[in-house]
Symmetry: C2
Subunit: 199 residues, 2 copies
């Protein structure tokens, strides 16, 4: 297996858990928080800011930034973070087979010459709510629904802003999986199978 | 394996070939042209009309129909064909495990209580053009591109009209596969694996 596996995932769809198991089965690295740490180190931005701006964009945040800076595209910390993060993702990918979570890695590596398997993991709101509840301790259904909607919107905005494509459109991925319908075990199995089989 | 496998597919992405191999491996029926024949028989419409209207809707055809009938939704032969076809698809699905190609079968069976695995197969234009060329004998690149664009638009319109959803959006399917990137063998393997593994 000589692929870089990129996993884009909806919040609460189990992408991290599934990605970690795929990496374990294949004996390769998985990059998620490491990307945040390395980007913060290389850019000089605070870890919290990189975490906040490195994968999500709220419309409000864009609007406020445009009021402050006069332009959302010029001197926007998010653009600077995206550029550094892009370089970090390329560096990790060039080191050899690995799993990279989110952060437009599919698009960043698209014309890099590096062999990739691009995966998107989604699930219905019920499965996501249960998983988020387990992780965060939040048990209020309305609050869980609000968290899902907010994360969906901000990750969608980020992806579309930096790739010009629609997040979750099957055409952007080699493989998309509904982890709610298929279950984690099968998702891991199918990703490993695909990664090991394609030339 | 007790599932009905629905396969939605882009023109030239190999959905029929892959579906046929999946059905063979699982020893189950595949319904494609049979749906057309049964729908024609049950509705009294000509086979050619059912074939033409049973899966595709061109914007032009809608516009012309609306001029003629005053409404695209009332007394439209396509609506009548869709209703009969829906009943035929439900009948086939109720008979037991099978593969059903296209025709919004994913959406038709969604709340039917029948266990399904919903798959969408797509591919890039280059892979599709090669496959369509092999099948039709057309070798002119512009013509192949035009055929792809036309079929995409008319199948998209049909799906959106009858389901209210976006064709090819990963959220509508348990599994989507890029047959160009993964290859037919792997697509067959992953679908069979998924169909046999989910409870």
């Amino acid at each position: 297996m000589n692929k870089v596996i990129t996993i884009s995932r909806e919040y609460g769809a189990g992408g991290h858990t599934i990605g970690k198991r795929v990496a374990q089965e294949l004996g390769i690295e998985i990059y998620d928080r490491d990307i945040v740490r390395e980007t913060a180190k290389a850019s000089g931005f605070e870890l919290e800011l990189v975490e906040q701006e490195g994968e999500e964009t709220s419309r409000t945040s864009y609007f406020l930034k445009s009021l402050v800076t006069g332009s959302v595209h010029y001197h926007d910390p998010q653009d600077a973070i995206h550029d550094v993060q892009r370089a970090i993702i390329l560096k990790f990918a060039q080191q050899g087979p690995c799993v990279i979570l989110g952060r437009c890695a599919d698009e960043i590596l698209r014309d890099s010459g590096i062999e990739t398997l691009n995966v998107f993991i989604h699930a219905d709101d019920l499965h996501r709510a249960v998983r988020i509840s387990e992780k965060t301790g939040v048990t209020n259904a309305t609050e869980l629904q609000r968290m899902i909607a907010k994360k969906d919107a901000s990750r969608q905005n980020y992806y579309t802003h930096y790739t010009g494509k629609k997040w979750g459109d099957s055409h952007n991925y080699d493989l998309t999986l509904d982890s709610g319908a298929l279950g984690d075990d099968l998702c891991v199995k199918l990703i490993v199978e695909a990664a090991c089989s394609i030339e």
